[in-house]
């Protein structure tokens, strides 16, 4: 409950900061926000695009959140997503088989690719206590350069050196039914996989022994060890699942939202995943809502940019500022506490008041 309030307030502060930014640069914030939200919600096609934009963010958000539950900071979702997506695209471009089978194989390949990319930092953490923040950053750049050279070498596009061949229709997550339902939007099956991932995520974390062990390691590594939990194995397991989730994000992005893989770009969704997880308080449903909100900002900014003078980077700025406020949530927490106490001071007699205050402090 309190987490939810903190997230909402962080969003509010982020939006206010965005409004100030617009005003300072000589634009009308009310108009800006009006077009920003219209751009994401105005008609079915735009709503479809908002959901499609949110899809990879759901995966990377879940990825970061899953690792975070075990006390690990997965800053490498970008690399895992890129490599997972690359594996899926490679499968889609190489094999020629019935569509359902091909799509399943691509999803599996994406999961394995991402998992592999996170397995290495997980193993290094478990075996040698190498900090996962640095090792996942290194893995990001290794993925970047691997894809940079592998795509032109094996899957060169027909017209552009910088991207792969277009995926055939059979290997695309887009389906005519969905596209028609949402008026030509690029919403795709990735959203359904994401919804399933949210459910599985919540199930594993809340209902299984594995989830309990992972959380126990996250709360206190030493006491988890003392309680007989295989800490090192938990760390590797957690990273592998987190990487796999990010890899699925790559599948959804490159084989659903896009139809090919580009080189020379680390997908920004990987870093936004940190934002999504943080805003969603590392819960499945929270991640889902936060991802949809960010998807709305991202898909609406183009329309806003077309209708006003405001550069599209306002969306990124707002998200980044929200993250800063979420990171400094203790400030918000203090404010909430201050207002609660103030309210109580008015209602209750003096003696009761001091005892409640003491309770608050504990």
């Amino acid at each position: 409950m309190r987490n939810g309030i903190i997230s909402l307030l962080a969003v509010l502060f982020g939006l206010i900061a965005g409004a100030i930014l617009m005003a300072v640069t000589g634009n009308n914030p009310v108009e800006g926000y009006k077009y920003l939200f219209e751009g994401g919600l105005k008609n079915l096609s735009r709503i479809g695009n908002t959901l499609a934009t949110a899809t990879p963010l759901i995966f990377t958000g879940l990825s970061v959140a899953f690792a975070f539950r075990t006390g690990l900071f997965n800053i490498g979702a970008a690399g895992q997503m890129l490599f997972g997506g690359f594996c899926a695209v490679a499968v889609g471009l190489t094999f020629d088989m019935s569509r359902p089978l091909l799509l399943v194989m691509m999803v599996v390949a994406g999961f394995i690719g991402g998992a592999l990319w996170a397995f290495i930092p997980g193993l290094l953490k478990a075996k040698f206590n190498v900090h996962e923040v640095v090792s996942t950053i290194m893995m990001n750049w290794i993925a970047y350069w691997t894809v940079y050279y592998a795509v032109p070498a094996y899957f060169k596009g027909e017209f552009l050196e910088t991207e792969s061949k277009k995926l055939p229709e059979a290997a695309s997550l887009r389906t005519p039914i969905l596209t028609e339902m949402f008026d030509g939007s690029y919403i795709n099956l990735g959203l359904f996989i994401a919804a399933i991932a949210v459910i599985i995520f919540s199930f594993i974390i809340n209902k299984t022994t594995l989830g309990f062990e992972l959380k126990a390691v996250g709360f206190n590594r030493d006491s988890a060890e003392y309680a007989g939990i295989a800490v090192n194995r938990s760390i590797v397991t957690s990273m592998v699942i987190a990487g796999g989730l990010a890899g699925l994000g790559g599948v959804a992005f490159y084989a659903g939202n896009a139809t090919s893989i580009q080189i020379g770009i680390l997908p920004t969704q990987g870093f936004d995943g940190i934002a999504v997880a943080l805003l969603g308080a590392n819960t499945g449903i929270g991640v889902l809502l936060a991802a949809i909100f960010f998807g709305l900002l991202y898909s609406g900014r183009g329309f806003m940019n077309a209708m006003t003078e405001i550069p599209p980077e306002i969306a990124d700025s707002i998200i980044a500022i929200i993250i800063y406020f979420a990171a400094t949530s203790i400030l918000i927490d203090r404010m909430i506490r201050y207002f609660i106490n103030k309210k109580k001071n008015k209602k209750q007699p003096a003696i009761v008041q001091t005892t409640t205050e003491k309770k608050e402090e504990v």
Binding site: L21, T25, G26, F73, I75, I120, L124, F128, N129, V130, H131, V133, V134, S135, I137, M138, M139, W141, I142, W145, T146, Y148, Y149, A150, F271, I274, A275, L278, E309, P311, E313, I314, D316, S317, I319, A320, I321, I323, Y324, A326, A327, T328, S329, I330, L331
Partner: protein, 316 residues
């Protein structure tokens, strides 16, 4: 082989210098006990400020190198100011330092391009760069002369001077001792009458100032334009700090290694003796080596003991 080394040395040094100054700043921050993964963002802020100031100053005083120096100075100041966001979050609010650093990276990347578009109409700012020069006399020395003293930039010597001063400050002055104690045993430092939060503020602010300078040096020597990124240099600086085991000379060695490795990868295609190696291996080489170094050093890590932990005066 020798001619190859001679040819690439100036480029490698140009690449090394922004990395070195940024990693050196991070050294102060981490030695004081605050992890700063916002280096990339702070460099971007410096690059943006530098480009913007230089663009405007060059209009006012065309053809003068002074404009560039004013740009570098203001980039340093802006880096320092921006790092206060990180300092406030991680020192006063006990925020997770990695999340705060990530937020700094994201804010810097987004806001600079946003402002650049508002001010110049495009996300890119083109500037003219600093002019390289041969150091008189020294460049005539055989061997070293051609390696170190030809086609050098004034910023290179400035950064090397800062390196020397920093090493002296950290290890030979009371200030350095106090700063380091806050990263190792903050409670003992506090008991000795040192204000841990003040020292940590100073550490983060030095880091911000140096990163800002690093970002600006990057665009006035190699880049020539601001386009919203510094190409992962900030993260590489972080790796250099760890690779260099949180020591000034170690950092110098690590950044030189990255400088040469990256330059070799960049020019491999035009040098016959290197063209036989697939470029992807050369490109991933520095990162793989960093991973291996992390494994090798894992047993004997020289990391400040209290780095990354918020300081809680009441907790012992």
């Amino acid at each position: 082989m020798w001619t190859v080394i001679q040819q690439i040395a100036p480029y490698a040094i140009i690449f090394t210098i922004p990395l070195l100054i940024t990693a050196l700043g991070a050294l102060f921050s981490e030695r004081s006990g605050v992890v700063n993964i916002g280096l990339e963002g702070l460099m971007v802020i410096g690059a943006f400020t530098g480009a913007l100031v230089i663009l405007n100053m060059q209009e006012m005083m065309p053809g003068q190198q002074k404009a560039i120096w004013i740009g570098l100075a203001l980039a340093t100041v802006m880096g320092l100011l921006f790092s206060l966001l990180h300092a406030f979050a991680s020192i006063n609010l006990h925020a997770n330092q990695i999340i705060s650093g990530t937020a700094i990276n994201m804010i810097a990347a987004a806001i600079t391009v946003f402002l650049a578009r508002n001010i110049t109409g495009s996300g890119n700012i083109q500037i003219s760069t600093l002019k390289p020069f041969n150091v008189p006399f020294l460049s005539d020395i055989p061997v070293i002369g051609s390696l170190l003293f030809t086609r050098t930039y004034a910023t290179t010597w400035l950064v090397l001077a800062i390196l020397l001063v920093s090493a002296f400050m950290l290890y030979k002055t009371p200030f350095g001792l106090r700063l380091r104690s806050c990263g190792e045993h903050p409670h003992a430092a506090e008991a000795a009458g040192i204000s841990v939060s003040k020292m940590r503020y100073i550490g983060v602010m030095i880091s911000g100032a140096f990163s800002g300078l690093g970002g600006a040096v990057f665009i006035v020597t190699t880049g020539g334009e601001f386009n919203g990124t510094v190409a992962g240099l900030g993260f590489l600086a972080l790796a250099s700090l760890i690779f260099g085991q949180w020591k000034p000379l170690g950092i110098l060695a690590a950044t030189l290694f990255f400088g040469f490795a990256t330059t070799v990868a960049n020019v491999s295609q035009v040098i016959p003796s290197l063209a036989v190696i697939p470029p992807v291996f050369l490109k991933v080489f520095p990162y793989v080596v960093t991973l291996i170094a992390l494994i090798v050093f894992s047993k004997s890590s020289q990391a400040p003991k209290a780095v990354g932990e918020p300081f809680d005066s009441g907790k012992r």
